[in-house]
């Protein structure tokens, strides 16, 4: 507890690579939740102790594939009701996780626990620069309230520059 500031947590984390279960990386983090914060995201400092594996080739493949699509990619319900994700949409699913990570960070308090429940809709938007742009509608499940609500988020991605959120919007009032 830090008087007049908030609550600070010191964490030791083990990250598991979802695509390579035997691979783990240790991290340490400091998370500061601000006092009485309705609109302020927690401050996060993260140190990765070790290396994340290289995904250069897979990134390049994906980038080239999407750039060469004649029509913009559009997809819905990833995974579908039965938990299936078509292999060619798996990278789109993973980028949605990244985008959701940003949303979750921006909206977390000490009393929330969010997960990405499903990608409701994704639309690729062709750009004149080198970034790929995906406009997502993602459903976030919050464990304590049990609400599953839609969020709009635009993600930009580039093999070297990585992922960035350019826009996001929370659920419209009246959404259940």
């Amino acid at each position: 507890d830090i008087d007049d500031v908030g609550h600070k947590y010191y964490l030791e984390l083990e990250l598991e690579d979802v695509l390579d279960k035997d691979r783990t990386v240790n991290c340490t983090a400091e998370v500061l939740y601000h006092l009485g914060s309705k609109s302020s995201a927690p401050d996060v400092q993260l140190t990765v102790q070790g290396e994340l594996r290289s995904t250069e080739e897979a990134d390049k493949e994906f980038y080239t594939r999407i750039r060469s699509l004649e029509k913009e990619l559009v997809a819905e319900n990833i995974p579908d009701s039965h938990g299936n994700v078509p292999p060619e949409l798996e990278p789109i699913h993973l980028l949605a996780w990244a985008a959701s990570g940003y949303l979750i960070w921006q909206n977390s308090t000490e009393n929330t626990k969010f997960h990405l429940a499903q990608v409701k809709h994704v639309k690729q938007v062709k750009r004149s620069d080198e970034d790929l742009q995906f406009d997502y509608v993602v459903l976030l499940h919050e464990m304590v309230s049990q609400e599953v609500l839609p969020w709009e988020v635009t993600l930009l991605w580039h093999p070297q520059r990585g992922a960035r959120v350019s826009q996001c919007q929370g659920p419209a009032p009246g959404d259940t």
Partner: protein, 421 residues
């Protein structure tokens, strides 16, 4: 005894005059299974066969009935209540094999019309599950019988399967699935459990002992309306589908609707919220049916298991308070051992503990309610996974999830059997 039989004769005699002996509909007709112990009880069956139409399924005729023989027979709908009373009074061991013959037949004949056939390794829609409950009972009459404990808000019958070798004064374990509509892996587990019971009885010593010594009540889907809704409209629906006064928002969270610290914490008073506790405890037809059944059978129910997803947790009371239950140490060691059993198969890690501190405080849960009713062993399972797929657990994970969970459930059942009270 005989006074009752004469009274029955007069009653049935009067009814027979107007009864249609060649009924083409089998609606609400019951099939009973009895085991007459002695000549006196055999005589009662003879008496019944004399005063009304009794269709003997086994043996073929009443004249072949002997003491200690398993006897199955069908009676007309209107007669079934009197027959049941007579059997109860006589002290004869009996069970209702088929609760509604027409329904069982319809379910079987509908199998051609069914768009999807049942699979234990896929998610099945409600119609498929309903038909399966009839089939599995009809195919395994020695081990499974089906009954209806009530109706949902939208009028669907709530099927309950009773599993076990028939016997006298058996204690029971109650297990339900499908409280929350979107948790599809949950009903899948109840179906898997039933399958394992019928397939491994006589082959697996633990299962055989469990089914010989105990009965299991398995309610494959509690919140049927909600489950149907996740198939037709909204995969992420959680609650029931009842209408709420003064709003278009529908549904109550069935696991906040029990009378256990009802609506004091971790639940919402707003009908639009996902954790809406309802207008009153047991306001929902589904929760009332479940609670009524448990109350009615409290003398035999020794454990209560309720299956949810996701998070990989094994919880026990309390969730409506941070206070610990009186047999906390015992529940904790059972949970610990059961989690170990579960992990032994695929290394799936479960966290266990009292609900309030392990997941979050939440009042109105069925596990807390059952516990406070006197069911000493009350557990909530939150099955796979921990958030990667969440509610949308891939079908390829149904089998491993069910296999590992079964180990934990068998462990708990076995413990209960060895610590009956």
């Amino acid at each position: 005894m005989f006074k009752k039989m004469w009274a029955l004769l007069v009653l049935i005699g009067a009814a027979s005059v107007s009864a249609h002996l060649q009924d083409l509909s089998f609606d609400r007709q019951k099939v009973f299974r009895v085991i007459p112990q002695n000549d006196e009880q055999v005589e009662i069956l003879n008496f019944l066969a004399n005063i009304m139409e009794v269709d003997f399924w086994q043996p073929d005729s009443v004249t072949l009935v002997r003491p200690k023989m398993q006897v199955d027979f069908r009676v007309e709908a209107e007669k079934s209540f009197d027959v049941e009373d007579l059997l109860k009074e006589s002290g004869m061991e009996y069970q209702v094999l088929i609760d509604n013959l027409q329904a069982a037949m319809d379910a079987q004949f509908d199998s051609k019309v069914r768009t999807a056939s049942h699979s234990y390794e896929n998610y099945n829609n409600w119609d498929t599950i309903a038909a399966w409950t009839a089939d599995i009972a009809a195919q395994n009459p020695d081990l499974v019988s089906r009954s209806v404990i009530g109706e949902t808000y939208e009028g669907r019958p709530m099927y309950l399967l009773k599993m076990g070798k028939s016997g006298q004064n058996k204690k029971t374990i109650f297990m339900d699935c499908g409280f929350h509509a979107r948790e599809w892996i949950s009903p899948a587990f109840c179906q898997w459990f039933v399958k394992e019971a019928v397939e491994t009885y006589g082959k697996d010593t633990v299962m055989t002992t469990l089914l010989d010594k105990l009965d299991f009540y398995v309610l494959p889907v509690v919140n049927i309306d909600g489950y149907v809704y996740t198939w037709t409209n909204d995969r992420m629906w959680r609650k029931t589908r009842s209408k709420n006064a003064g709003t278009t928002c529908r549904g109550t969270d069935p696991n906040r609707n029990f009378n256990a610290g009802w609506c004091t914490l971790g639940a919402s008073k707003s009908p639009c919220a996902s954790t809406y506790c309802g207008s009153a405890p047991e306001s929902e037809k589904e929760t009332k049916a479940l609670a009524d059944f448990i109350r009615e059978n409290l003398s035999t129910i020794k454990a209560y298991l309720t299956i949810h997803s996701y998070s990989q947790l094994l919880l026990f009371p309390y969730s409506y308070t941070y206070k610990l239950p009186s047999n906390y140490q015992e529940l904790n060691s059972i949970a610990s051992a059961a989690s170990k059993q579960l992990a032994s198969l695929y290394n799936t890690k479960y966290t266990y503990g009292p609900g309030a501190e392990t997941i979050y405080p939440a009042a109105g849960g069925s596990d807390d309610w059952a516990y406070d009713q006197g069911v000493k062993y009350s557990f909530t399972f939150e099955l796979r996974d921990t958030g990667r797929y969440g509610f949308l657990l891939p079908e390829s994970q149904i089998k491993p999830t069910c296999e590992e969970t079964l180990l934990a459930v068998k462990y708990i059942a076995n413990y209960v059997l060895e610590h009956l009270y």
